[in-house]
C-alpha cells in the first residue's frame, strides 16, 4: 500500500468518524447558541441513544433504520425532559450554576446507566453486511462507512432545511439571536428551547447508534470522550454556528484518524485538546465565527 493510498484510507476513516462527531457537535452548538450552556450531558445522551439502538437491534431484532428512528425519538423525549427538569429552573441563574447542573446531569446519566444496564461492555450486533468495496485499488470502503457518512449527510441536510425554512427553525434562530425580542414577537421561547434540545438529542442518538455500529462496542461511559471531542469540534467551527459544527466535526475526525494512522493513537485525545486550546487562544470565535466587540 503506497503512502498516497494510506493517506486516502485514513481520510475515509476520518470522514466516517468525523461525521459522527459532527452529529454530536450539532447538538452542542445548537444548545449553546440558544441558551449559552455547555450541555455536558450531551455525550451521555448519545450513550443513551446507542443503548436504545442496541436494545432495538438485539432484543427486538429490528433492522438498522427503524432502530435508528426509535432511538432518535426516545432520546429526543429524554432531551426535552432533561431540559425541563434540570436546566429550565436555572435559566436565569449564573452560568456556573447551569454548567454544574449540566455536569451533574452527565454524572446522573452515566452512573444511572451503569445501574440500569450494568457496567460491562456490550457488543453491538453486526447490522450491516461486512462487504468491503474497493473501487480505487487498495483503498477499502466498508459498508458501515458508507452508511455512516450517508446517514450523517441526510440528517444534516434535513437539519439545515428545518433550521432554514420551518417555523420551528425560524423561531430557534430568532430566540438564539435575542430571547427577549423573540418573546415580544410572540414566539414561545420555552417550546423553542425544548425543540432545540429535542433536535440536538435526536442527532446525538443517531450519532450514538452509528458509533455503536462503527466501534462494535458500547458501554455506559462511552459518551464522555466523544462528547468532549464533539464540543471541541463545535468550538473549532465556531460555537452556535451550525455549518461550523459540521466542518469542525469532520476536521476533528480527520485529525484523529491521521494521528492514529501515524502511530500516535495514545496521543489522539491530547491532540484534540491541543487543537481546542490553540483555537481558543488564536481565534476563540472559531473558524466561521465573527468577532463581536464586547460592550461594557
Amino acid at each position: 500500500m503506497g503512502s498516497v493510498d494510506l493517506i486516502l484510507q485514513q481520510f475515509i476513516n476520518g470522514l466516517s468518524l468525523g461525521s459522527i462527531y459532527a452529529l454530536i457537535a450539532l447538538g452542542y452548538t445548537m444548545v449553546y447558541g440558544i441558551i449559552k450552556l455547555i450541555n455536558f450531558a450531551h455525550g451521555d445522551i448519545m450513550m443513551v441513544g446507542a443503548y436504545i439502538g442496541w436494545f432495538c437491534t438485539t432484543t427486538l431484532k429490528m433492522m438498522f433504520i427503524p432502530a435508528l428512528i426509535i432511538a432518535m425519538l426516545i432520546t429526543a423525549l429524554l432531551g426535552m425532559i432533561i431540559e425541563r427538569i434540570a436546566y429550565k429552573p436555572l435559566r436565569n441563574a449564573t452560568r456556573l450554576a447551569a454548567l454544574i447542573t449540566a455536569i451533574g446531569m452527565s454524572f446522573f446519566l452515566e452512573y444511572g446507566g451503569i445501574l440500569v444496564v450494568g457496567p460491562q461492555v456490550r457488543t453491538f450486533p453486526e447490522v450491516f453486511p461486512q462487504t468491503i468495496y474497493n473501487p480505487l485499488g487498495d483503498i477499502t470502503f466498508k459498508y458501515g462507512d458508507i452508511v455512516i457518512i450517508l446517514t450523517a449527510v441526510i440528517l444534516m441536510t434535513i437539519l439545515t432545511l428545518v433550521v432554514k425554512y420551518s417555523r420551528v427553525g425560524k423561531a430557534m434562530r430568532a430566540v438564539s439571536h435575542d430571547k427577549d425580542a423573540a418573546a415580544l414577537m410572540g414566539i414561545n421561547v420555552n417550546n423553542t428551547i425544548s425543540a432545540t434540545f429535542a433536535i440536538g438529542s435526536c442527532l446525538a442518538a443517531a450519532a450514538g447508534v452509528l458509533m455503536g455500529v462503527y466501534f462494535n462496542t458500547i458501554n455506559p461511559l462511552m459518551g464522555i470522550m466523544p462528547g468532549l471531542k464533539a464540543f471541541v469540534a463545535a468550538v473549532l467551527g465556531g460555537i452556535g454556528i451550525i455549518p461550523g459544527a459540521m466542518i469542525g466535526g469532520l476536521f476533528m475526525g480527520l485529525i484523529e484518524s491521521f494521528v492514529s494512522g501515524l502511530g500516535f493513537s495514545m496521543w489522539r485525545d491530547a491532540v484534540a485538546f491541543l487543537i481546542l486550546i490553540l483555537v481558543l487562544i488564536i481565534k476563540p470565535t472559531g473558524l466561521l465565527g465573527k468577532n463581536t466587540r464586547e460592550k461594557v
Binding site: 434540570a86 452560568r95 450554576a97 455536569i103 454524572f107 444511572g112 457496567p119 464540543f231 468550538v235 481558543l280
Partner: protein, 316 residues
Amino acid sequence: MKLLNKKNAIILLSLIVVYGLVQFLFNNGTLNQFYMMTLILVCIYIILAVSQNLITGFTGQLAIGHAGFMAIGAYMSAMIVVKFQGSLILGLIFGAIIAGLAGILIGLPTLRLRGDYLAIATLGLGEIVRIVFLNMDYLGGATGLSVPKTIDWTWAFWLMVISVLIISNFINSSHGRACISIRENEIAAEAMGINTTKYKVMAFAIGAAFAGLAGGIYANYMYFIQPTTFSFLKSFEILVMVVLGGLGSTTGAIIGAAVMTIGSALLADYPEIRMLVIAVLLIALMIFRPNGIMGNKELKFNFLNFKKKGDENGTT
C-alpha cells in the same frame, strides 16, 4: 495586629486539640486504618477545595483543571522520592513549585478566556497533563508508579492547616482584595488600576501550587499513583466540593470537602450509587440553593458559640 492575640491562640489551641484527639484515638485503636485514611483524604481534599476556591470562588475564574495540577504535584514529588531518593519534604516542595510554574505557564494564555471557554480550555489542559503522564514510561506510564507511604496524620493535618492559613491570608491581603475585585467586575477592576492579568495568573498559580502539594501528599500516602486517578472527573469532584460549600467561602470549601469526602467514604461499598447521589445532590443543590452551604459568608470564630474551623475533622 498582634500575631498571637486571643482569637488566634484559641484557633491554634483547638487545632492542637483536634490533632491530638485524632492521633490519640488512632494510637489507642478506636480509629482503624479506614477512618484514618478518610481523615487524611479529608485533609488532602481540603487543600484542593480551598485552592480551587481561591481560583473560582474568589477570583471568579471557572477553571476545571485542578486534577492536572494535582497530577503534576503527585508525579513530581514521587519522582524526587522514588527516582532520586530525595526526602519527602523536598519532594512535596518540588511538586508544589512545578505545579505552580505549570499554573503560570497555563494561566498566561488561557486566562484571557472567560467563563465557559476558560472552563473547557483548562479541562482540556488537565487532560493533556494526564495523557502526558500516561505516555511517560519513565514515571510508570499507564501501569502507574509505586511510592513509599511516608505521609501520616501529622504531616497531612499540619500541611492542611498551613495551606489553609496561607491561602486565607492571601485572600485577606491587598492581593486577595484585588482578586475579589476581578470576580466582582473585571472591567471596573481594570479601570481602578488593577493589573487583572497579573492577579488572575497569581491566583491561578497559587491555586495550582497547592493542588500540587495536595497531589504530593496524595502520592506519598496512597502507595501507588496512576494517571487515571487524575482524570477530569477528579477536577469536577473538587469543583463540586467548592460549590457545595459555597463559592467564595474558605470555611465553606472546608465543609464541602469534609462532607463530600466523608459521604464518599460512607458510600464506598456502592460506587455507582455514590456517583448517582453526587449527581442528584448537585442538580438539586443548583436548583434549590445555588449558593451552597455557606454562600460567600465565612464561619466566624465567635467567642460566644465555639465553632471552630477544624471541628468537622474531629467530630466525624
